[in-house]
Symmetry: C2
């Protein structure tokens, strides 16, 4: 189809599509004449993925580019693509990581990983991210909330298993890799929103 | 204690503390002389809360101000403070909410809330937020991931109950309200990080 139809079907404005083409986020169409090209379903699909990462996932263009580079690299399997996605999805935190309290919090995370028997590379950014939040909770004296850490880990484990199992049932690498990306970004948005609703519900039970 | 000791104990630089004082995020100390004031534990505690919201929660100054206003309003109970916190914690999404697909996704969220028997105000921002992510998933044809929606809801429910129950055991309003804020912001950071680790672990089981 022509680029004008791509605009119509995706809802993404023409200047934005041209920008994605220039930046290499969207592969070029098949040339059909001077200044004209033909676009297929894979372009529509890619556009939707880009918009989901930006609009819902809150990723910047550079991060989207890196994630897509990983998606398009046939030598990378779901496991590695997930690593790249997690890396770029990690909002840089400004927590002070030089304190003894932070190191103690990080040791708690490592201890949790070992206790759960999780195969997780301790150098991954989410280990430090969890430590940021735990150090802040401990610093605020919210130690009773930390008694919930295994409740969080249980939930995370159940979700991780279910998500990976759905994605592993997909027949091809492309589908699995797209599932890794969308599951990470969109699944996280869904989980965060549902947790807030469930808190509201639980809280309403007490305030009656 | 003097402001210099507040700097030392909190790790927050003096110009930042002065800025928080000017902006009313931090209540003034007790004057002890011209240009001198005495600060107590409540100032240190408040500073740590501000830094946790900014550094780990990623909130802006305006959002922190609104959340703290709610915390300091003795007429607001945990339930209402949570509402304020959720509102300001909601990263504005740029998803297109004018489409039929989005309305269908929002109807799915409402249907889920009814199916689970959740007491949730359908006007809350997290309902729309969940709809953004579901519309994007459906648009990308990731319908198999949507089979997990009740797995997410189960996890959310269990977490919501556990979190609210810990907070309700706190003896005073101030402690409960602080728990609501920190539990929402820092608990979310912990959950998101643990989910990614659990995905990595689950994924490693397949790639062996």
């Amino acid at each position: 189809v022509k680029v004008s139809e791509l605009v119509e079907r995706s809802g993404v404005p023409l200047p934005t599509i041209k920008y994605y083409l220039r930046e290499g986020l969207l592969p070029a169409g098949t040339p059909t004449g001077r200044n004209q090209a033909d676009y297929g379903d894979e372009h529509l699909r890619r556009l939707r993925l880009i918009r989901a990462l930006i609009d819902v996932g809150g990723l910047g263009i550079t991060a989207v580019k890196e994630v897509l580079r990983s998606v398009d690299d046939p030598g990378q399997f779901g496991h590695e693509v997930r690593g790249t996605a997690h890396y770029f999805l990690t909002r840089p935190t400004r927590a002070d990581r030089s304190t003894a309290e932070w190191r103690a919090a990080r040791a708690e995370v490592i201890e949790l990983i070992e206790r759960r028997g999780w195969q997780v590379n301790p150098e991954r950014p989410e280990v430090d991210q969890a430590a940021d939040a735990i150090a802040a909770l401990r610093g605020l004296g919210q130690d009773d909330l930390m008694t919930l850490i295994d409740t969080y880990a249980d939930a995370a484990e159940r979700l991780g298993e279910a998500e990976v199992s759905v994605i592993m049932q997909r027949p091809d690498r492309a589908g699995a890799v797209e599932g890794v990306i969308t599951g990470t970004v969109l699944g996280e948005a869904i989980l965060v929103a549902l947790r807030r609703m469930a808190q509201e519900h639980a809280s309403a039970q007490y305030s009656r």
